[in-house]
């Protein structure tokens, strides 16, 4: 492989923009005819490979082979349901933002894995909104405009208030955690009847 071809290959690889024959010749201190000849040779070498050397409007550049374009695009998107922990976390951030992880845990009443908030950030719904100026300077989280858009909210004020949640029955104790808290002994006999129906 000739020194000129090597130099051409390196220069075009490292160039941030397509280069004209004149510019290449000037940079490499070579005659334009030699550069033109070298470019043809280099283009022939790359023909059919994964990368091609092409001329567009008098300027040369490397590009990946057009038939491999699908390799450069994102693979496949994998829809996944948000876990319950993550959903609760998101809800708490939305209702209480800006809020630290410790505060989220205090509201959830359970430890919250770091990964849970990471998932929300990965989804683009939650961002770091700075640090709380208290000892330890914990990171505080808030929601993003993407969150509002994807959840169909004009603003955070559109989130239903506590009273509205109560009215829709969403504050009714429905889960096991509540039963556990209340203790099985405290179950109203009527409700057991109801449950057995």
């Amino acid at each position: 492989m000739s020194p000129l071809i090597r130099a051409l290959e390196a220069a075009l690889f490292a160039a941030t923009q397509p280069m004209s024959v004149e510019a290449i010749a000037r940079h490499l201190g070579q005659g334009e005819a030699a550069v033109r000849e070298g470019l043809r040779e280099l283009a022939a070498h790359y023909a059919g490979r994964g990368v091609e050397l092409v001329e567009r409007g008098g300027r040369w550049h490397f590009q990946t082979a057009p038939d491999l374009a699908h390799l450069l695009r994102p693979m496949h998107e994998e829809p996944r349901r948000l876990t319950r922990a993550a959903t609760e976390c998101l809800a708490i951030i939305a209702y209480h933002e800006p809020v630290s992880r410790a505060e989220i845990e205090a509201i959830r009443g359970v430890q919250t894995a770091k990964g849970t908030v990471d998932v929300l950030m990965e989804a683009g719904w939650v961002r770091i909104a700075g640090r709380r100026e208290v000892p330890g300077r914990p990171v505080i989280y808030a929601t993003t405009p993407t969150f509002l858009a994807e959840f169909g909210l004009g603003s955070r004020r559109d989130l239903p208030g506590i009273e509205e949640l109560r009215a829709t029955g969403l504050l009714d104790p429905v889960d096991e955690a509540y039963d556990a808290l209340m203790g099985q002994g405290a179950v109203d006999p009527n409700s057991e009847e109801a449950l057995r129906q």
Binding site: L72, P79, G109, V119, E122, L165, L170, Y178
Partner: protein, 264 residues
Amino acid sequence: MNEIALPPGEGADLFTAPARDALMLEIEGWEGPLDLLLDLARRQKVDLRRISILELVDQYIAYVEAAEALKLELAADYLVMAAWLAYLKSALLLPKEEQEEPSPEELALRLQLRLQRLAAMREAAARLLARDRIGRDVFLRGAPEGLRIGKKAVWQADLYDLIAAYGQVKARNAPVVHIVRDRKVMTLDSALARMSAMLGVTLDWVELREFLPPATQAEWSDERLRRSALASSFVAALELARQGRVEIVQDHVFGPLRLRSLNA
């Protein structure tokens, strides 16, 4: 250990007057006393394991003294090091039996080990910088098309999930049932009725408290109920005054409120 010393004489002429001047010019160049010591040690032009510590101490102290003679301001740590080295030198020269722990030989060896380590890292840094560095010697593709790597998880949740989750959190952790203890109160209506009835039978000024049911009655003996009665009676008095049925006077702040019927 026997490599520490230098054959007598060698290196002794390295710290001559011109060298000292040159040294002074570099005063800003050193990063602390250890750096200066290393430089001086190197001027002995021998393997760092073979330097003469006594020689080094003399050179360092000479440097500090020269700096003082030139009225150059030396940072405190240079002077601390000078004092320590002077101590080390005198200890090294003392008869062995008068020495304390740690021995001056140990201190000298430790200093030498430190110098070796600093020198090793300085050389490593230079060799590191001499490598073919990206952006200086080798270059990456100038305009990569970019690659979106890997699977992209598209997280799904909707507003319902969100508020339902919040509801559950609240239901789980907020006090679920508010039990307000059944507490007796005097309602505004009953206070109004009672006050109206009592005002109908007198034209005199009557203090507000006199409208309250007597505490001697068992059912009104509860202090909290009496406060409720007082509050309701006060509001009832304001209401009657608004209706133009009573007038209210108070002689001084926090003084007793007195009422008198207007439409007798």
